[in-house]
Every structure is written in C-alpha cells, then in structure tokens.
C-alpha cells in the first residue's frame, strides 16, 4: 500500500487524487493511466471490505473504488475515468484516434468487464465441476481476445493504450487467481498472443515504474476471499449460470 504526494507544476494538475484499494484491478487501471500521462496524484487507500463514509460521499450511487478526484470533483467507474483523463490531458493519447477503432476499444473494454471478469471471479471462488465450467467460459471469451492481439505488440498497436489498461488484469490478476484456485485459465500454449502481450505489458517502462500490488500479499488476499466466498457461491447453485450467462 503506497501513498505518493502530489507535487504538481501545472495548474491543470492541481488536486488530482485517486481513491483506491491496494489490490483492486480497477484502481490499478487509473493509476497506470495517470502514470502514462505523467500526472502526479495523491493516493488515498480505502478498505473496500470496511467502507468509510468518505467513499459514499464521493461515490454515493455505488460506493466503490476507484474514484478520481480532480479539482474537487469526483469521478467513479474506471473506464469512464480513463476516458476523462485522456480527454483532459490529451498528450500521449490512450484512446485510438479514429471513431471506428475508438468504438472497438470501448466495445472490448465493456466485454472484458462484463464477459471475462465475472466468470473468472467465479473460477476463483468455485470448485469441482462448477469451477471447470466457469473456466471453460473464460477460455471461450479469451479466444476473442487472442484473435485481437494477433500481430500486435499491444492492444493499442505499437503503443500501450486504453484497452491494454482495461485488459491488464489478464496479465497479473488472472495468474494470481489461477494460483489460488489451482486451475489454469490463460494457458500460454493455447493463448500465445496473450502470453507475449503479458510480457510486453508487464515490462513496459512506464507500467513497471508505477505502484504494483505485491505478489505475496495479492495471493494471501485472494486466498482469504476464496475461503470466504466458496460456501456462499456454492449455495447459489444454478443461479450463477443465469447470472454469467451460458457459453
């Protein structure tokens, strides 16, 4: 868990704060986004398992992290925050420049959060046949991601961009969940493109120098979550499949 103080030189950088949770993949997107833009920010840690009144003050509708606070105004929802950052500080663009590729980037970002993350979360928190079934769903959706990265260094092309940041969880969170749940989701032999991109992404000079959740703590955290959630999700029975949708 880190806090860095803001030492802004330009007036437009005044009062940039990120309210996040140390291991949250959503908070991490915003931290990388600001880093890629060279924007210094103050980080405020929020324990999402023990939410403070501040969180609901800044995000009354959802009470979730991350929240970007800029010049006193708060913005929730990581994908919306990234587009805000990109528009307000237009240098080093995160989004593609033409409308069609922008639409594609937004589409796949939404897809990742809605279709990939949910079943992957269930892979972490289920066991046996249910877990395998969730893993199969993840695999089917990953095929589409694999198709997209073919022939490209990053999802953004030659430079890292919005979609790389949104999909970053594939590079470091899914492997952590795989280890905790003892099941493979992103098999490098099945997804060589994603494997190469993972290396490129994690070794990117800017990505590497920003805060990154410590591996051991990450594994311990998700071990605890699995321990808590296994019995609960088991009790949901078939409702889970209605929620995720079928393959």
């Amino acid at each position: 868990m880190e806090e860095s103080s803001s030492t802004s030189n330009s007036t437009s950088n005044k009062g940039v704060k990120v309210v996040g949770f140390w291991v949250s993949l959503f908070s991490q997107r915003v931290r990388w986004g600001l880093k890629l833009k060279g924007i210094e920010y103050e980080y405020v840690e929020e324990d999402i398992n023990n939410k403070s009144p501040l969180l609901f003050e800044l995000n009354p509708l959802y009470g979730k992290v991350p929240i970007l606070v800029h010049d006193g105004v708060s913005f929730p929802e990581s994908r919306i925050i990234l587009e805000y950052i990109d528009q307000f500080w237009p240098h080093n663009p995160l989004m593609p420049l033409d409308p069609y590729h922008r639409a594609q980037a937004r589409f796949w970002a939404k897809f990742a959060d809605e279709k990939l993350l949910d079943p992957a979360w269930f892979v972490l928190n289920l066991e046996g046949e249910d877990q395998e079934r969730a893993a199969k769903i993840v695999s089917v959706h990953l095929e589409k991601i694999e198709e997209m990265i073919k022939g490209k260094k990053y999802f953004g092309g030659n430079t890292i961009g919005f979609l790389d940041l949104v999909l970053a969880f594939i590079a470091y969170i899914l492997p952590a969940w795989e280890e905790v749940a003892s099941i493979k989701m992103v098999d490098p032999s099945k997804f060589p493109g994603i494997a190469t991109w993972t290396d490129n992404f994690l070794n990117h000079p800017v990505v590497k120098t920003e805060y990154f959740p410590p591996k051991d703590q990450t594994l311990s955290y998700y071990k605890c979550r699995r321990h808590e959630l296994l019995p609960l999700y088991k009790s949901y029975g078939n409702k889970i499949w209605t929620y995720i949708g079928t393959q």
């Binding site: 509708l61 929730p76 929802e77 307000f88 069609y100 639409a103 589409f107």
Partner: protein
C-alpha cells in the same frame, strides 16, 4: 463516395430507438432492417458475433455494436452536420453524461424488465427500485430543460427511448410514473416535441402489445 449506413434493429427496442434518434438528429440516411429475435438473420450473427444482439450499426461495411457506443460513434463521425454535438464538449460534462447513461443501462433496463415480467412481491420490489432510479435521474435533470442542459444531448437520447415503454410498465405494474416523477415525464414530453424523437420512438400501445406477446410466449402470464 456516399456512406452506406445500415441499422439492424427491432421496432420495440429502446436500444434501437436511441440509435434511430441519433441518426435522425444528424440527418443521416440509412437503411433500416427489422430483425426477428426469434429467428436472427445470418447477417446479424455475422455483424455481432459476440452478443448476437441489436442494434448494430453498419457503416461502410464496419459493424458497431452496443447502443451507447453507437451514439458516441455517430457523434464522432457526423460531427459537421446541421445539428449540435450530442456529447458535451468538455471532459467533466462528458464523463458525467457517460456515468448517468451507464446508470440507465445498469439500473433502469433491468428494473423495468423485472417490472413487466414478474408478479407479486418481486414486482412490487422492482417497482419501488424503478421509481427510486427514475427519481435519481429527475434529480440529475434538476431545473434544466434537458439532461444535456440547454440542448438535447446524449443522455437525453439514452433515456428518452424508455418513455415509449412507460405505458407498458404502468399497465403491468399498475401505477403511474407521472405521479411519482412528474418532472421526468414533463421532460420526456418536451423531448417528444422534437421530430427526431417523435418519429423514432415506438408507439407505446404497440410496445405494450409486444410485452403481452412475449409474456404469452414465455409463459409469464
């Protein structure tokens, strides 16, 4: 070379209506193709292989899916047309508009659907949450003529399509939306004065009949 624009859609779909309004606002000529969701065309499955849903906008052979993303695309491509931009120009208002449009999709759609498909306690609970959600949007509207401010915009387009479904919700839920959210209904009627909205929204009676047909089909009566 002129643009080729095709819209794959379903008459009663509020998501489709959003796109129709935006295209009308921009004065874009397009070919409308009605899909039968019980028998989806191979073309739809080819253009939206991931979700297999409408609406899909196909512009010079390139498909764009997801209604809110289509709105942004339309706004970015046809930006020199006769009408002002749909999305606010500054980053703050743009983020706010996107946030509320996302809220509409997350909450209003699901709650509305539960309202007309469920019965008894479940329906009552959905009704209450639905009204609460609309009240939040009413709060966002405040005293402005439109959700976009002085001008009709992206967030207005995102929400006003639901107005064609209000009659169906009210009949199924046995309540009056206007009684709980008079400002919002007044806003919707104001939007309906615009030609782009009036000609794009489905007839509420036809929407209600559509829900009755679906209820019968899926045994939800």
């Amino acid at each position: 070379m002129s643009d080729e624009v095709i819209l794959l859609d379903v008459y009663a779909s509020m998501f489709g209506m959003r796109v129709r309004i935006a295209l009308a606002e921009k004065g874009v000529e397009y070919e409308y193709r009605e899909e039968d969701l019980g028998n989806k065309s191979p073309f739809l499955l080819q253009m939206n292989p991931v979700y297999k849903k409408i609406p899909v906008l196909i512009h010079n052979g390139n498909p764009i899916c997801e209604s809110l993303l289509i709105l942004e695309y339309i706004d970015e491509v046809w930006k020199d047309n006769k009408s002002p931009p749909l999305l606010p120009s500054d980053a703050y208002h743009r983020a706010t508009a996107r946030f509320w449009a996302d809220f509409v999709d997350k909450k209003v759609f699901d709650l509305g659907r539960r309202l007309w498909t469920r019965k008894g306690e479940e329906q009552e609970a959905a009704k209450k949450e639905f009204i609460d959600a609309l009240k939040l949007l009413e709060g966002e509207l405040g005293n402005k003529p439109y959700l976009g401010g002085d001008k009709f915009g992206y967030l207005d387009v995102a929400l006003v399509a639901y107005y064609s479904w209000f009659y169906a919700y009210e009949k199924c839920g046995n309540f009056s939306i206007e009684e709980h959210c008079p400002k919002l209904v007044a806003w919707a009627k104001r939007c309906m004065k615009k030609e782009s909205v009036a000609k794009s929204l489905a007839d509420p009676i036809k929407v209600y009949e559509f829900t009755l047909m679906l209820k019968k089909k899926y045994g939800l009566e």
